[in-house]
């Protein structure tokens, strides 16, 4: 319990750091406080991430990226490197599902790709890649990826095989691990 306490204190510190004028130190009255996404994405862990907006949106309860402290803790626990692979898969699917229809459709793929490459691929190339991805992973032929398709695909990823949920990873610029944030 003491360990959890200290880390949650630290987390709360981080949370408060983002918006000192919004977040009180004292939580005894359960104040309903939410930090807007524009402040959340300034965290060093998210600052450079191309999917930062999506991550914040996924973990916020209202879906607009406003994070309460609970959501904040949620995000950290899901993204930290020791969190189990299944959990990461679930949240990753949510992150990549831009339009929140519980399927990753071609539009989602396009958005993902453009975020990953900063739009440096030509439209034809983007189309080709999206078509190929869809062709590869879509097992039920409905031209969109369901969660089971996604899970199946991700579970076979070589990085996943080598860097399972328990193995810790390099700090920065190591072999591409899949979804870990800095462990706090």
């Amino acid at each position: 319990m003491t360990n959890a306490d200290s880390s949650s204190f630290r987390l709360h510190g981080r949370y408060r750091e983002l918006a000192p004028h919004l977040v009180p130190l004292d939580y005894t009255n359960n104040p309903d406080i939410r930090v807007p996404p524009t402040l959340i994405v300034t965290m060093p862990e998210l600052k450079e991430n191309p999917f930062r907006d999506r991550i914040v949106e996924t973990f916020s309860e209202d879906g607009h990226g406003n994070l309460s402290f609970n959501d904040f803790v949620d995000m950290f626990s899901a993204l930290c490197e020791t969190s189990p692979r299944e959990l990461k898969t679930i949240y990753a699917f949510k992150i990549y599902d831009f339009n929140r229809d519980n399927f990753i459709c071609k539009e989602d793929l396009k958005k993902t790709l453009n975020k990953l490459t900063k739009g440096e691929l030509s439209p034809e190339e983007v189309l080709l890649v999206c078509d190929k991805s869809m062709e590869e992973a879509d097992l039920d032929g409905d031209s969109k990826l369901s969660f089971s398709d996604f899970e199946n695909m991700v579970s076979k990823a070589p990085d996943f095989l080598r860097y399972g949920s328990t193995s810790s990873t390099t700090k920065r610029g190591g072999k591409s691990t899949w979804l870990p944030l800095h462990n706090i």
Partner: protein, 880 residues
């Protein structure tokens, strides 16, 4: 978490105060309840058991794991329905807490109420089936947790109200009624728990088992809690409750310092995890040049980075080789062997003494360098040296064998590992998806690294796209076939020409050597090395031009190119070795003459001294004056060292001129030139991965070949690799542009590894040949005076080991034993190979099956969708 839990604790505190009075009203009820409870006691036992079973079943189902998302949805739907009950539950809870605080007596009575409740609950449970149970378990957990605060709040308000009204009995009944709500198991557990606390001796073993199970379940829940996609609020409360329960139970079971032990264990596991993580980080931090390589990878793609990784790997191997030769051969000889100048082989001859310190001589590894631990000839044939009785000749021989054996082992092991990895990962079915979803490194927090990552991801996508497009286009024209034949013909011409050139040059150099090197210019003295280096530099370019004729798929083209360069290098190396063999034979002829001369010289010397004065001590002759044979081993070592040096120099100079100067010119002349130099003809150079890798491989081959005769070679190679690492990293980052066509020679590194293995074999072949067949020089090196170099083993066996060991060894090395053993190994290899082949076939079959199944599924799904559509339309028609 603390922020949340703080207020809850306060609320509970208030609750206690509020309900203090209420409890006293239970007294009347208790007497009545006790009678009923007695009746139901036997029932209880049975049901408890049933409960346990059910729990186990539900846990198993949970374990199987229906998708969490579904649970969530289901739960959400249920939440509304059950919210009504929560008030009541809250009341009941408050009672529990309060009752516990009260006394053992009140607890006992409350227990009876609980039995009542449980009975009802079980009735309900029996109605629900299979899945229902699981759902129930989930819901229970949820209710037990998520709304605790709310509950507490409610409870407080309510109790105050009721106190005022004074309708206690009514309230009590209410509790009993609402107990059908499924949170009973938990309550039961808690209650049982309490029972233990009160009378542990009355606990049957069965109950104990059940308790243990319950607590184990909680513990498990705590463990897997992280993996649940629940909101933090829920997780937090569940964790909190479970922990409380577990702690209480463990203390209650009389496990002594159960709580402390538990806390200690938790702390230790956390510390251990943290240590492991730190250690991993430390290990990765210890990998040299990791950041440099990553940086290059992000700018130039994985293929260029693979060269540098290969370079680093090579560096590691050479480090081991260096440690072996340095630690077991050079240092012992330098420290414990006879010092310089004591014996002829350790002294510069009188004739060379004047120029022995000249830089030109030292640069050629003559003079003092030649008569030092760097070369074979310096070592003495004394069996044991120093106070350690270090067996120097034996050590020299074993290190020579050991370096080769170690290299074989490492190369083969790496190949096997690569094969394994590619065996797992050769399933390339999700290439694009993996690139899309798993390529971002979530650990990046540095803007520059992020930029690099973006660049590298884009590059990798372009690679994949290009490959895709390449695989799509196919045009088969007769012209290309003709061109390919022509290209191969041209390449063969090149190879033959370069072979002849080297042979010619080596022959000429032998003539020069006979004349005496001093009479010739620098170029004539270094002709062989320079020609070899220049050929190695320009022929690949020529091949590259020729391969443009062929119009192959880039990967195939790369493989052809590599094969050709390989053939070129190999031809050059072997021509060089053949020339060297000629020279060895010449030296041995010379040696015979000198040996004869020396015996006469010695005889004359001996006779002379004897004739002068038979009693006086023999005249001491300076070791520098003693005539000596041409130590062919040192000559071979020197040749290799010179080759390595000239090769290294050429590489660096090419790098500086070809890359750096070109880049500078292109960059700065571009301001005053008539066409665009950067985009047009000269442009910046690309990094030539294949050529560099091959250069590295051949360099290593030369090391393996020459290391026996020049123990300094691994050290030199380390120096070279170290400098190349920095120089090439810098050159790549500063003067090269990323390749337009980025293709690896193959998916794994095994292509290069296979080349390395071939080179290893081909380079150990001549080394072993010379060691086994040519007798060592009579006056230099650790094996002088022996018939063969490997005689040192026999000598050691005879002198250092007991007699029986030598006997056993001689029996074991009997051909009658060795041949069957080799036969057995061959058979084993054959067997293993055939089994692996059959496994591979089975694998392919299974893959095919999977694919067809997937396709069938697709078809089925499509059909089903179509059918559903038709049905819908029909229904619409019918309705209209």
């Amino acid at each position: 978490m603390t922020g949340r839990c703080g207020p809850v604790a306060v609320d509970i505190g208030l609750d206690f105060e509020g309900e203090e009075i209420e409890v006293s009203t239970f007294q009347e009820e208790r007497e009545r309840e006790r009678h009923r409870a007695k009746r139901s006691d036997s029932d209880r036992e049975r049901r408890k058991r049933g409960n346990g079973r059910r729990k186990r079943a539900s846990r198993a189902e949970e374990g199987k794991g229906e998708s969490q998302a579904r649970h969530d949805r289901r739960e959400k739907g249920r939440r509304k329905r059950t919210r009504r009950d929560q008030d009541d539950k809250g009341r009941k809870r408050d009672e529990e807490v309060q009752a516990k605080i009260k006394s053992g007596k009140s607890a006992k009575t409350r227990k009876h109420i609980k039995y009542e409740k449980k009975r009802k609950m079980e009735e309900k449970l029996e109605v629900e089936e299979g899945e229902g149970e699981e759902r129930h378990a989930k819901r229970k957990r949820k209710h037990g947790s998520a709304n605790k605060e709310e509950r507490d709040e409610d409870g407080r308000k309510r109790t105050v109200k009721e106190k005022a009204q004074g309708v206690k009995r009514k309230k009590h009944k209410k509790v009993v009624e609402t107990s059908s709500e499924p949170s009973e198991e938990e309550d039961n557990d808690e209650e049982d728990n309490e029972e233990v606390e009160v009378r542990p001796e009355s606990l049957s073993s069965e109950e104990l088992e059940k308790l243990k199970e319950a607590v184990d379940e909680r513990k498990k829940l705590i463990q897997v809690l992280r993996g649940k996609p629940w909101p933090m609020k829920k997780k937090c409360v569940t964790l909190w409750e479970s922990q409380e329960f577990v702690e209480k139970y463990e203390g209650a079971l009389g496990k002594g310092k159960g709580r402390k032990l538990y806390a200690y264990k938790v702390m230790m596991t956390k510390k251990w995890m943290k240590f492991q993580r730190d250690f991993e980080n430390f290990k990765t931090a210890c990998i040299p040049w990791e950041m440099k390589i990553k940086e290059i990878e992000s700018h130039f793609g994985s293929s260029v980075a693979s060269y540098f990784i290969f370079l680093r790997w090579m560096y590691g191997i050479n480090m081991i080789l260096f440690c072996l030769t340095f630690g077991l051969v050079m240092v012992p000889e330098a420290l414990m062997g006879r010092p310089y100048g004591t014996i002829p082989r350790k002294t510069v001859p009188r004739a060379e003494a004047t120029s022995a310190m000249d830089f030109a001589v030292l640069w050629d590894f003559g003079g003092y360098a030649q008569y030092s631990v760097l070369f074979y000839g310096y070592y003495n044939n004394q069996r044991a040296i120093g106070w350690l009785k270090f067996r120097m000749p034996l050590s020299y021989f074993l290190v020579g064998v050991g370096t080769v054996a170690y290299s074989y082992m490492v190369v083969i092991r790496t190949m096997a590992r690569n094969a394994n990895e590619s065996g797992v990962g050769d399933d390339n079915s999700f290439n694009f998806n993996w690139k899309m979803f798993t390529s971002w490194d979530y650990l990046i927090g540095n803007p520059e690294t992020a930029d690099n990552k973006f660049a590298s991801i884009t590059t990798s996508f372009k690679e994949a796209i290009l490959e895709e497009q390449e695989s799509r286009k196919d045009d088969n024209i007769h012209l290309t076939r003709f061109l390919r034949v022509l290209a191969n013909f041209l390449v063969l011409c090149c190879l033959a020409g370069s072979g002849y050139l080297i042979y010619f040059v080596v022959r000429r150099s032998q003539k020069f050597a006979l004349d005496g090197l001093e009479n010739h210019s620098w170029w004539e003295r270094n002709e062989v090395n320079m020609v070899m280096s220049l050929l190695g530099m320009f022929c690949p370019m020529l091949f590259d031009v020729i391969s443009a004729l062929e119009n192959y798929h880039p990967r195939v083209a790369l493989q052809w190119q590599l094969g050709r360069i390989f053939a070129l290098f190999l031809g050059n190396l072997y021509t060089f070795i053949i020339a060297l063999m000629d020279e060895i034979n010449l030296k041995r002829e010379e040696e015979k003459i000198i040996k004869f001369n020396i015996t006469t010289w010695e005889a004359s010397l001996y006779n002379g001294t004897v004739s002068e004065n038979s009693t006086a001590p023999p005249v001491t002759i300076q070791p520098a004056d003693v005539p000596r044979g041409p130590c062919w081993e040192t000559m071979v070592g020197q040749e290799f060292v010179r080759l390595i040096i000239s090769d290294t120099m050429t590489t660096y100079i090419t790098l500086l001129i070809g890359d750096f100067l070109r880049a500078v010119l292109v960059r700065f002349l571009n301001y005053c030139w008539c066409w665009d130099l950067e985009a047009g003809f000269p442009s910046y150079s690309e990094f030539d991965v294949s050529g560099n890798v091959l250069g590295l491989i051949f360099n290593q081959g030369m090391i393996w070949m020459g290391a026996f005769y020049a123990p300094c070679l691994p050290a030199l190679n380390i120096l070279r690799l170290h400098v190349s690492m920095y120089l090439q990293c810098w050159a790549v980052m500063c003067c090269n542009v990323p390749q337009e066509r980025v293709f690896k020679a193959s998916g794994s590194n095994n292509f290069y590894m296979a080349m390395l293995l071939v080179i290893l074999f081909l380079s150990t072949l001549p080394a072993i040949y010379t060691i086994v067949t040519i007798p060592p020089s009579f006056d230099c090196g650790p094996f002088s005076g022996k018939q063969h170099m490997f005689d040192v083993i026999q000598e050691t066996l005879e002198l250092d080991f007991p007699a029986w060991f030598g006997k056993v060894f001689s029996y074991a090395s009997n051909p009658g034993l060795v041949l069957p053993f080799i036969l057995l190994m061959v058979l084993a290899i054959y067997y293993l190979q055939s089994t692996s082949k059959s496994y591979k076939e089975a694998n392919v079959e299974l893959k095919k099956k999977l694919q067809t199944q997937n396709e069938e599924n697709k078809k089925k799904n499509k059909l089903a969708a179509l059918k559903a559509q038709m049905d819908q339309e029909e229904a619409r028609k019918a309705s209209s």
